[in-house]
């Protein structure tokens, strides 16, 4: 796959075709969320755990009467919790009118990438990850996995179907 320099790419190809992605990191892996699906980035302060909730749900955030479901992207990707006790970052998303906070290790910058440069998922990618990925972008020094937000938040549907 041809490496892409996002900055040079943005300058030489023009902005109209580019898509913006909010980048996040989980267990050292760079992942991208289409900016059109992201409405906020925030620090998680207090979270209430939910007994018997699906494992992907880390808890509920009750924000002035508005309930936001905190979903662990680590668990959604089949990874264990980081055990980190420092501040937890979340990306605010919505799906079918429900508010979600997607817990990630870190939130990075916004990258502009050309959709035509997106590659299919690598053949060796974990099956669980393939279902959550729209494809990948090979950046200069790392691989960016483009997350399918609908799929990431469809864990309950998956469970019902199983």
């Amino acid at each position: 796959m041809k490496p892409i320099d996002p900055i040079t790419s943005a300058v030489t190809k023009g902005a109209s075709k580019q898509m913006e992605f909010v980048t996040v990191t989980v267990a050292g892996q760079l992942l991208g969320l289409p900016i059109s699906r992201v409405h906020d980035v925030f620090v998680v302060s207090e979270m209430t755990t939910v007994p018997l909730a699906p494992g992907e749900i880390a808890g509920l955030l009750n924000l002035r009467g508005r309930v936001v479901t905190a979903v662990s992207l680590r668990r959604r990707l089949g990874l264990g919790d980081s055990g980190a006790t420092e501040r937890r970052m979340a990306v605010g998303l919505e799906n079918h009118g429900e508010a979600y906070g997607l817990l990630v290790d870190e939130v990075g910058e916004v990258l502009k990438l050309d959709p035509d440069e997106m590659q299919p998922n690598p053949v060796h990618m974990d099956r669980g990850w393939v279902g959550l990925s729209q494809g990948v972008h090979q950046l200069q020094d790392k691989l960016l996995i483009v997350l399918d937000v609908d799929a990431v938040l469809a864990f309950e549907t998956e469970r019902e179907a199983a």
Binding site: V43, A99, V110
Partner: protein, 127 residues
């Protein structure tokens, strides 16, 4: 005041990712003239150089905070009627009260979504 989507909007935040997200949300709402500044001082310079119709500013920034920017804007005869919305992670009553006293038009507590942003902006322009 009525809401005009062609009005220039200035987004002020020292966190570039949040600036890009806000710019995108404003674009989704229909605003097509959105500019940004990375702190209160830079915002003040832009506000004095061009006529904006709305400021959406983060509270926590350095060297000049959003609260200090608000105070400066309200103390400036040329800018004191400029609609100003504050975005903050702090829901503390004393902060809300301080911002209200300083003349903020509306206050958004994180996390928020496009609908909240749209509603808060509409409330500023439509009362």
């Amino acid at each position: 005041m009525s809401l005009d989507l062609s009005t220039p909007v200035l987004v002020v935040d020292d966190y570039q990712t949040m600036v890009r997200i806000l710019r995108n949300l404003l674009k989704q709402i229909g605003f097509n003239d959105v500019d940004d500044a990375s702190d209160g001082q830079a915002a003040l310079e832009k506000l004095r150089a061009r006529k904006y119709g709305l400021v959406i500013s983060d509270w926590n920034m350095a060297p000049m905070t959003g609260y200090e920017l608000l105070q400066q804007v309200r103390a400036d005869a040329e800018l004191n009627s400029l609609p100003f919305i504050m975005v903050t992670a702090e829901a503390k009553t004393e902060n809300v009260v301080a911002a209200k006293k300083a003349g903020v038009n509306n206050y958004i507590v994180k996390p928020f979504n496009a609908d909240t942003l749209r509603t808060k902006i509409s409330a500023v322009f439509n009362g």
